[in-house]
């Protein structure tokens, strides 16, 4: 089991990397067509600051749907803190920054499952759940189980933290180590390696497009108001 899961982890990451590289190549291979439009050619300093705020605080979503914004922002920010907190299990010594955000990471562990439930409820309540793809449902379902198992391990059924760290560090160092003796951990870990190949690329591309949208919208006035 130890070896199977270790190999599965490598395969999972490899699939994601191949997917990512393939997509990145397709983005780079696309023709550099002339931008059809006058207006701002580059991002001004003011627009750059606004673009950054758009990306961090999902301000475009805030404008269109406040309830969804709360759920979505809570989900993303808690996932970020949880992901950062997990660095604890990979690094020795643990960086100061990770120790600093540890309390926030623990609180984020409570927020994440609730934000996912809220996301699903909002979709259902809006009557537009038909428009949510099966893929999105799959991601939310897997993330929910991962978050619940993670939370349970944090507050009720704690595995031996040293065993966990040894196992995860062993994978990173290509020196497989014994699987911790915790069913919850095994479920949690299996679902993470199931999730990784399916991670959506909008995690990477959406911030780029949000920045592009800010540049375009701030430059709209220059399309036909140039001197």
């Amino acid at each position: 089991m130890d070896k199977i899961l270790t190999i599965a982890a490598y395969v999972s990451c490899a699939i994601f990397l191949v997917r990512f590289v393939w997509h990145a190549v397709s983005w780079l291979r696309a023709e550099r067509r002339p931008f059809t439009g006058a207006g701002a050619e580059r991002l001004s300093a003011g627009s750059a600051v606004n673009a950054l705020l758009d990306m961090i605080f999902f301000r475009r979503l805030f404008r269109t749907n406040r309830a969804l914004w709360i759920a979505s922002w809570a989900f993303h920010i808690s996932l970020l803190f949880i992901a950062l907190r997990h660095v604890w299990y990979f690094m020795d010594p643990v960086p100061e920054f990770i120790i600093f955000i540890e309390p926030a990471g623990i609180k984020a562990g409570y927020v994440l499952p609730f934000s996912l439930v809220l996301l699903l409820l909002l979709r259902a309540a809006a009557g537009r759940d038909r428009y949510v793809s099966q893929y999105n449902f799959f991601l939310i379902a897997v993330l929910f189980i991962i978050s619940v198992t993670g939370l349970l391990m944090g507050i009720l059924f704690q595995p031996d933290i040293l065993d966990v760290k040894d196992f995860v560090s062993g994978i990173l160092a290509f020196e497989p180590y014994a699987l911790p003796d915790s069913t919850l951990f095994v479920v949690h870990f299996i679902l993470v390696i199931v999730l990784i190949p399916f991670l959506p690329f909008h995690l990477i591309t959406a911030p780029v497009i949000t920045m592009e949208a800010r540049r375009r919208e701030d430059g709209l006035d220059m399309v036909m108001h140039e001197k």
Binding site: L61, V132, F201, L220, D221, M224
Partner: protein, 400 residues
Amino acid sequence: MKNKRPFGSELSKVQRVELDACTQCGECLKVCPVQQVTGRPEISPPEKIRMFRELIRETDGLKSKIFGEGNIDPKLFQDLTTALYECTVCGACGQSCPVGLFNQRLWPVLRKEMVKRGLAPVGAQGDMPQKVKDTGNPYAEPADKRYSPWFPDNVSVADKADIAYYAGCTGAYYAKPMVRGDVLVLNAIGEPFTMLPPEEEVCCGFPLFITGQHGLLKDLTQRLVAAYKARGVKTLVCSCPCCVNIMARDWPVFYGKALPFRIRHITQFADDALKKGKLRIKKGLSERIIYHDPCYLSRGVGVIAEPRSILKNIPGIELLEFDRHGVNSRCCGAGGAARKVFHENAVAMGRLTIDEAVGKKADKLVLSCPACYEKVNEAMKGHDKQIKIVDIMELVSELL
């Protein structure tokens, strides 16, 4: 269907990234006018993107490269073509997109991809390139009827001038009071202006661009730009939002360099003249009027303040706003060259505009787009709610 060109070849780098950036959240459905009148999720923006992604995967994905391109279900092509062409390309989806996709530009490029593969356009749209080639306009109307039915007798046009007026095909043939109003206002401003002879004032290319049929665009642009350049034009004025959109955004690309003149919408030109005292609105109007922002004028090129500024210059007028206005305006149904094929949708959308204007107790619905003018007037026929529709320059010309 097999084709050596993978799907997505027509997309720019940013558009390729845009396709992957859609989170399929469905927020755009709340503002999509086609969704409002059809309620069919299969023709919604996220569905278009999902289907297009699927076709890219089938033709350019890792699996297809290793195992070869499989047989793509013809229904997928059919569904995507319908979804792309039933859309009015108004761009409201992109405006409300939490990520910020530029759909007003993405949809025409996806349409171009379908045309390149022989899967589109649909219906009468397919005849447009030939009609433009034969007659200079997408309606196959005769050139000698382009100006004569509406051009005011007492207005003269210079051979050469700094200012030129482009009437546009839809205005000249289907929104005559509108283009007549344009010319009367230009005349009242008092600066000499020129126009091309009717047989030289060919299509600006927008109907071909928006339906994905790009073959003639370079030729049309170069002919028109050369003709205006020869007349010494420094400012080209036009009242059609679609024309000014392609002129400002795409003509420089098809021309190969910056245009030798600037493009102005008639409302920009008239507002500037009002501010400089060259134009004066003498008569008042004690009415409640509501102004509809055309998608390609507001979201498209950012002309939002000038029409309002002009209307506020009319003594006695009370200016109302639609709930969705400015860059967030709702399509009247005339956009995307879909109105000729999906007529019922277009009429239903036009009636939503009429209903809201009537609901707000407006006396007049003011438009500034010939396609809106034609379609909303058509939607009024047989409708239980009625309102007087007027073009902004038609209105101003009556008050000079």
